[in-house]
């Protein structure tokens, strides 16, 4: 290859490179977000629970616990805001989730039951009916947790668990699990020196330290616990945890659990942004609405045809023969029809028709179609071309039995016979029909049609045909 040609190719490819890159980049999630999402875009549902801030667990006392505010919560709030800003997600943030929990059908009923149990438990504890107090508090806590009231009012549930622990302690049983649960509900919860019994304070602190050092903290936090009842099936559950110097997030999806964390040693906004970006990539982007694929199809059927005429020069008579129909489905519910029938007349009641009439009807036009399972309802409006053979009639009985010339003219002559030569007719056509699939692509069909002729080459007196067709069809594709 000559150098000049090679240089030309190189320059050309360099020119095209940005275009190619842009075209490739156009498929990224970020670019799709930037372009905007259609209204019918199916967004993944993400439910964010209120963040668990357990930094207070490590505080020596309540005052120290209260002082632990700031970057962790600020980072979480920033994290939620960043997720909310991602337009491809359908976000239920923590506030909305609390409202969802409170709107659950059984929430009010079980909440009242739990509070009744708790009130009875407090009374029993004060009256030193310890067994009853323990049972009541256990029942109250179970009801609170069942309706996720520990998410809505964690301090209220923590106090129930604490009281249960105190009752257990005074009755000689191990209070540690109850105290641990109370601290998990409210990490800042502390017994008061000089107010609460020293033995209780000691047991409580022991439970707190045990939480900090042992595996029970992770188990107790239940970060990886799968879906509570208030989270819809298919949604992605996001739980956050603020520890000392770290923000952790767990995403529980239908098919996976993902965890990530970010240190909180710098700007909480930046920490939240980094964490949100990484976790956003782990969530499904969503999907564009599936394009409706209409049933393009070609249906062909043939069978028996029957025609009659509302207006005729003799009494009403039938015409029987065959018919065929082709329907091409262009788009969902819309098709093009081509119909043809060829019939021969039957006798009229008094046999005034002397020759049978051959009738050809050809109609074409657009049609609508509606489906219900195996059934299709069809309508067609279009144009019809008809060809009628000669119409020969007589009212003279002698001319019905004898041929002209076979008997004297006084009995039957040409004047007694009316003849109209064959005619071509054009007019408007309408039909309705129904089809039912009977086996695979095979279907039975029935169709009724009529026509209003606008133009005719001769007036045979046959007007307003009414036709019936019954046939067997096959869906080619």
């Amino acid at each position: 290859m000559k150098p000049g040609v090679g240089l030309l190719l190189l320059l050309t490819s360099l020119q095209l490179l940005p275009t190619v890159a842009a075209a490739a980049g156009g498929d990224s999630d970020a670019s799709r977000l930037h372009e905007g999402l259609p209204r019918a875009f199916v967004k993944p549902h993400v439910v964010v629970y209120p963040v668990r801030d357990i930094r207070a667990l490590g505080a020596q006392d309540a005052a120290a616990a209260k002082g632990l505010q700031g970057e962790g919560v600020e980072a979480w709030q920033a994290f939620e805001s960043l997720l909310r800003a991602r337009e491809n997600l359908r976000l239920t943030d923590s506030r909305a989730q609390i409202l969802t929990i409170q709107r659950a059908g059984v929430y009010r009923e079980l909440l009242q039951r739990a509070r009744d149990d708790a009130a009875a438990g407090y009374t029993a504890y004060q009256e030193v009916r310890l067994d009853e107090a323990i049972e009541r508090m256990r029942a109250a806590e179970a009801s609170f947790v069942l309706v996720e009231h520990h998410i809505v009012r964690p301090k209220e549930v923590a106090r129930v668990a604490l009281t249960q622990g105190l009752a257990l302690l005074e009755s000689g049983q191990d209070p540690a699990p109850a105290f641990a649960r109370a601290l998990l509900f409210d990490p800042a919860l502390r017994l008061r020196v000089g107010f609460d019994r020293a033995e209780a304070i000691e047991a409580f602190e022991s439970a707190r330290k045990g939480l900090l050092s042992g595996p029970s903290l992770t188990e107790g936090l239940q970060l990886r616990t799968r879906r509570p009842p208030s989270v819809p099936k298919g949604a992605h559950l996001v739980r956050g945890l603020v520890r000392v110097g770290r923000l952790s997030v767990t995403i529980i999806s239908p098919d996976a659990i993902r965890e990530d964390s970010e240190p909180l040693d710098g700007d909480p906004q930046e920490a939240a942004s980094r964490l949100a970006s990484r976790l956003w990539c782990c969530l499904p982007f969503g999907r564009f609405p599936a394009r409706k694929t209409h049933d393009r199809g070609l249906y062909i059927d043939a069978g028996f045809a029957y025609n009659t005429f509302y207006d005729a020069p003799v009494e009403a008579f039938g015409n029987t023969g065959a018919a065929a129909n082709v329907r091409f489905i262009l788009a969902e519910g819309i098709g093009l029809d081509l119909n043809a029938s060829l019939t021969n007349s039957n006798r009229d009641r008094e046999e005034d028709l002397r020759d049978s009439i051959g009738i050809l009807r050809i109609a074409a036009g657009p049609g609508l179609e509606k489906r219900w399972g195996r059934w299709r309802l069809m309508t067609t409006v279009g144009f019809e071309y008809a060809l009628h053979s000669a119409v020969v009639t007589t009212g003279n009985p002698a001319c019905k039995l004898f041929e002209v010339g076979q008997v004297p003219p006084t009995l039957c002559s040409e004047e007694d016979i009316d003849r109209v030569d064959g005619a071509q007719l054009i007019g408007l056509h309408g039909s309705v029909g129904v089809a039912v699939a009977v086996a695979g692509r095979v279907y039975l069909t029935a169709r009724a049609s009529t026509a209003k002729y606008i133009f005719r080459t001769d007036d045979s007196g046959l007007k307003l045909p009414f036709g019936l067709q019954f046939g067997l069809g096959y869906q080619l594709f």
């Binding site: 009659t308 009494e315 039938g318 006798r347 008094e350 009985p397 009995l411």
Partner: protein, 169 residues
């Protein structure tokens, strides 16, 4: 009212065949017994609603079934003024004084039928509703000469040839 009747007929015509009562009593009918005047008639009737047409073939009575043999034909007459009302048929003979033949040169076996003798202005009034497969009624030239007749249905192809008789060639 006319429109309703038209619609009713229109819907009724959805039947595939045009057959009905309007064709009743059409066919071939043979006189069951010879008349006193020595003649036996065979009717070829075509009924179309209220109209009646056809022809009447006259035979010289014989003592055997050969009465209705083709060579025994002694004149055929076209039907005129034929009418049908329910099961009652009435008709007259067209030009009864000039009997026709199956062909213009038909030669009857009986020499007295060459040519066939004329008939009177005969009329028939027959009722097909009295008994099945029979037409019962009267025939006569005047009110005074009415005689009772009975016809039986016979299978066969309806005859339509009854032409002016010119004599044997």
């Amino acid at each position: 009212m006319k429109r309703i009747a038209h619609i009713a007929v229109f819907l009724a015509s959805l039947s595939l065949s045009g057959c009905g009562a309007e064709r009743d009593l059409s066919g071939i009918w043979r006189q069951a017994e010879c008349s006193a005047d020595g003649w036996a008639y065979e009717l070829h009737l075509g009924r179309y609603g209220d109209g009646l047409t056809g022809l009447v073939v006259r035979y010289r009575c014989k003592a055997s079934v050969e009465t209705f043999a083709p060579e025994n034909e002694c004149g055929c007459f076209l039907i005129s003024t034929g009418k049908a009302a329910d099961d009652v048929l009435s008709f007259a003979l067209y030009r009864p004084t000039e009997p026709f033949g199956p062909t213009a040169d038909f030669e009857a076996e009986d020499p007295q039928c060459r040519p066939p003798p004329p008939d009177c202005a005969r009329t028939f009034i027959l009722d097909g509703g009295i008994t099945t497969e029979r037409l019962e009624g009267t025939s006569g030239c005047t009110q005074d000469t009415v005689s009772r007749l009975s016809f039986e249905s016979v299978k066969g192809k309806l005859r339509t040839n009854c032409v002016a008789y010119e004599g044997p060639s």
